[in-house]
């Protein structure tokens, strides 16, 4: 149902404004965000500039003149920029092919490409390390054989390798954004162009592309910030090749443990935060409206472009792409989890074992970590969804002044790099200012909420937007209380969106790595951290088993969701 004027306020109460529950809700949410998001970030900036008690750029000078840090800065910007460019170059054609043409297996490809979004990026790093390392990478060796090359064509431990993996894991962000926008775009302009005789390619170039430009820019900037704030991938394949990024340096500094180390980490974090905020501002400024990730509900039927004789070749290309970027890495990780000697083929004599799988289900620390991940992700998703619902109602159904403030804060929270959020929370919530939640699950849940709440909010907001307020009004006119109307009318209608929103927050929290690396304590280790530790210190096969298990869980939940909401849910 399209609402003609979704901004129509539902009720204009003339009660005393400070007793108005909506105001109380806003104040509660803003209060929470002020204490746990704004204050820590401000303190972080303060600490960077006032580390010696008086305003000084001393810390900045020390940190940025250190060549290792300077190269980390340039590396981060270079890697993020190229990932952004390639990510969009890949995402746009794919989105167009899957959304607007008669490509074979569209639905399957769509799910596959979106699937990468649900997978921890560092799992990809693990896979590519095995595939493209310069001496014995399996893909390298395969290519060498086919093309009769003298040496391995690719080296994963280079900037190129880093960009490749970053692109492979962050292009889905662009794909999803562009896909959604494309779906919502009015196809009549394209139809008009086709009717006037333009070829599909010309239409694409002159109509689709310009119309999509704002969302393409938004998608590009999304990829940029995500790639720049990434920790897992650069730490697994960048650092062995001595390519440091700002995120790995920040965590290095925190691990050095000294006060000076912490200050240096803070200084670098401020840089990252500034870049992210500038980019976020640019993105909002350039597109005006925010991009939503919505529950699918097909509104208009776009004109399907017939690929004609290109149909099969293009499908083949897409299949190869899917194989290389999605399927092969996952299979590699899965195979590593049952291999004893990674130097031999998995099919060699006696090289298959289930020992590592047995291990991940019996080892105490892994079970504890899984439980922690589950608990904190569930809490973050549930509380996050509650806040999202309240915010959605405020944003869509009311005209309260100041409703944009918490919305803005939540958006900024999601654009802030994870490592900055974690660091700021550590520094301000360790008892210095009265609150001490360091080393507890609470601090992790809060960090997760700040980072991922926006996903839930956008989903619920867009669902609510699509429901006309007249339904609720009709219910109220018939005598039902506001609460009853909500329960009987609105809730059932937005239920799929609620489920979707819950899982959109749950999943990244479940396998989260960066923040958990900094915030974990004796009994609050999480799966993401466990995976990273096994991969880096203990045993790669166990890490691969854990990664595969996480993959199955994530895919399983997505499949379940699809069934539950009768196909209505899709990212």
């Amino acid at each position: 149902m399209r609402a003609l004027n979704p901004q129509a306020p539902l009720n204009e109460e003339k009660h005393r404004w400070f007793l108005d529950p909506k105001w109380l809700i806003i104040i509660a949410i803003v209060g929470f965000l002020l204490v746990f998001q704004v204050f820590p970030l401000v303190y972080l900036v303060f600490r960077a500039f006032f580390s010696t008690g008086t305003f000084s750029l001393e810390a900045f000078k020390r940190v940025y003149t250190y060549p290792l840090n300077w190269s980390a800065l340039t590396n981060t910007v270079v890697a993020a920029t190229f990932s952004m460019i390639f990510g969009v170059l890949i995402a746009f054609p794919l989105a167009w092919l899957v959304g607007r043409t008669n490509l074979y297996g569209k639905k399957f490809f769509r799910t596959l490409f979106v699937a990468t979004y649900m997978v921890p990026p560092y799992v990809g790093a693990m896979a590519w390390m095995r595939l493209l390392n310069p001496t014995v990478g399996s893909m390298n060796m395969f290519l060498q054989k086919i093309f009769n090359l003298g040496s391995a064509p690719f080296d994963i431990y280079t900037m190129g390798g880093l960009i490749w993996v970053l692109t492979g894991f962050y292009y889905p962000y662009a794909f999803i954004t562009i896909s959604r926008a494309m779906e919502k775009m009015d196809p009549s302009l394209e139809e008009a162009s086709r009717i006037s005789g333009a070829s599909p390619l010309t239409t694409l170039r002159t109509i689709t592309l310009p119309m999509m430009l704002p969302s393409i820019v938004a998608a590009a900037l999304l990829v940029f910030v995500a790639a720049g704030s990434c920790y897992g991938i650069p730490s697994i394949i960048g650092v062995p090749g001595q390519i440091h990024t700002v995120t790995t340096r920040i965590i290095d500094f925190v691990y050095i443990g000294s006060q000076e180390g912490l200050t240096d980490a803070t200084t670098l974090a401020v840089f990252l935060m500034l870049i992210a905020n500038v980019v976020l501002y640019l993105s909002t400024f350039s597109i005006g409206k925010k991009q939503y990730i919505t529950v699918s509900g097909k509104s208009t039927r776009p004109n399907i472009v017939d690929l004609g004789r290109w149909r099969i070749p293009i499908t083949a290309l897409v299949i190869i792409f899917a194989l290389v970027v999605v399927i092969i890495p996952f299979v590699t990780v899965a195979l590593s989890s049952i291999t004893v000697n990674l130097g031999e083929s998995v099919f060699a004599e006696g090289n298959i074992t289930w020992r590592y799988w047995e291990r991940i289900f019996t080892r105490k620390s892994i079970i504890n970590s899984a439980r922690n991940s589950l608990v904190s992700a569930v809490m973050a998703a549930t509380f996050g969804l509650l806040v999202s619902c309240m915010m959605a109602y405020l944003l869509v159904r009311t005209n309260i002044k100041g409703k944009k403030i918490p919305d803005f804060m939540i958006t900024v929270g999601s654009g802030t790099p994870s490592v900055v959020i974690a660091l700021s929370l550590i520094m301000s919530m360790s008892g210095k200012f009265g609150i001490n939640i360091y080393n507890t699950l609470t601090i992790m849940v809060i960090a997760y909420m700040i980072k991922y709440m926006m996903m839930g909010m956008r989903t619920v907001v867009s669902a609510l937007t699509q429901i006309s307020p007249s339904l609720e009004e009709a219910s109220q006119i018939s005598g039902a209380s506001w609460l009853r109307s909500m329960k009987n009318v609105t809730l059932p209608l937005i239920a799929p969106a609620l489920v979707a929103g819950w899982f959109l927050i749950f999943m990244p929290c479940f396998y989260e790595l960066t923040m958990s690396t900094l915030l974990y304590s004796t009994n609050t280790k999480t799966l993401g951290y466990e995976l990273y530790t096994y991969q880096t210190y203990h045993n790669q096969q166990t890490a691969s088993a854990l990664a595969t298990a996480i993959l199955f869980t994530v895919f399983g939940i997505n499949w379940l969701l699809n069934k539950l909401t009768d196909g209505e849910f899709s990212i």
């Binding site: 001595q242 050095i256 620390s365 589950l374 239920a495 539950l564």
Partner: protein, 346 residues
């Protein structure tokens, strides 16, 4: 909607099973009056922790012993933060870096424990009882005879950094996180000067953990690695791997890793009775047997059996590169910083 609710209910119930899995260990009968909880921070590898944990559960069924793993560097950062907050999270500490014991003793957080078989120790220990060596870790070289022959690769720490035949194909642990790696570069700097670090950088050494390095030996991605003897022994025994230890011709670096207890003022569980019992057990012949089973060398002269197929401890001690523990403490920052600078990509 009903379907939705049903499935959600099932999911919620299923997820509570996860909680059930964790609460299955409650110690039963009283034994020697020991009880309560004991948290041990350690940098021993997870496989080793698991083996020792199982044994400890049988020996001390009434104490709830919990191991927390972290690289030495990580644990040091954690403890520094906890000291600043006023309370430590551990009752005992088993990290790999002996110089850390000196530092903690000076900070006043340790508890002296007098054991009755101190005379059997073949290595230095603190006469006041603040720390004892509990296991011996040896930093050596390793290679894969299935891929390369011993004659074609470096057999000494010096050649490891200077032999151009293995440029780009060597690996070692990170001194920022690994205590034994820190002690190693401290010893090598004493013997060969800071130029050694520069040489390592020019060799394009990969900085990664032992387990990753071992995998690279298996696949042939690395020709020779600097690693702890115990990691190789474990792989040889558990995976029947062909990887072999090279005891460097210019000397092995022997690291007697200490065991320490935190005093009641700082420890979370204030369980000094349990801490004393566990320490005594580790230092006893029984405890050392388990250490050796976990691929490390024993510290007791009374139990000289080496782990798996390693050469006897006495043989190793004939040729070592000594480590100046006190200097390692004072120069820790400098060593780490200079090392990082030297091996960073130019």
């Amino acid at each position: 909607m009903k379907k939705l609710f049903m499935v959600l209910c099932v999911l919620v119930i299923a997820s509570t099973l996860v909680f059930a899995a964790g609460s299955a260990e409650k110690p039963k009968a009283a034994d020697g009056g020991l009880s309560g909880k004991l948290v041990i921070y350690t940098s021993m590898y997870d496989d080793v922790i698991e083996a020792i944990d199982e044994t400890l559960e049988k020996v001390f069924p009434t104490i709830d012993i919990e191991f927390f793993y972290g690289g030495t560097g990580t644990l040091q950062a954690k403890i520094a933060a906890e000291v600043a907050a006023g309370k430590l999270g551990c009752d005992m500490l088993m990290v790999a870096d002996p110089s850390y014991a000196l530092e903690l003793k000076a900070m006043g957080v340790l508890q002296p424990i007098m054991i009755n078989n101190a005379a059997d120790l073949a290595f230095d220990y603190d006469k006041e009882g603040y720390w004892y060596p509990v296991r011996i870790s040896n930093m050596v070289l390793a290679y894969n005879p299935g891929k390369f022959s011993k004659a074609d690769i470096p057999n000494s720490f010096y050649d490891f950094a200077y032999d151009k035949r293995v440029e780009g194909m060597i690996s070692m642990s990170n001194p920022l996180t690994s205590g034994t790696a820190l002690d190693t570069i401290s010893a090598l700097k004493d013997k060969y000067g800071y130029e050694y670090f520069t040489a390592l950088g020019q060799q394009k050494v990969k900085i990664e953990s032992g387990s990753v390095a071992l995998t690279k030996l298996e696949t042939g991605e690395c020709k020779v690695i600097m690693i702890l003897e115990e990691s190789v022994l474990q792989k040889r025994e558990m995976d029947r791997s062909k990887i072999e230890v090279i005891y460097p011709t210019d000397g092995t670096i022997v690291v007697p890793s200490p065991i320490m207890s935190i005093n009641d003022q700082w420890s979370p569980n204030k369980n000094s009775a349990a801490a004393k019992a566990v320490t005594e057990w580790f230092m006893s012949e029984e405890g050392q047997k388990n250490i050796v089973k976990a691929w490390m060398h024993s510290v007791s002269a009374k139990y000289p059996t080496p782990p798996y197929d390693a050469i006897p401890t006495k043989e190793i001690l004939k040729n070592t590169i000594p480590v100046d523990w006190q200097a390692t403490v004072t120069l820790r920052e400098e060593l780490r910083t200079k090392f990082q600078e030297a091996v960073a990509k130019k």
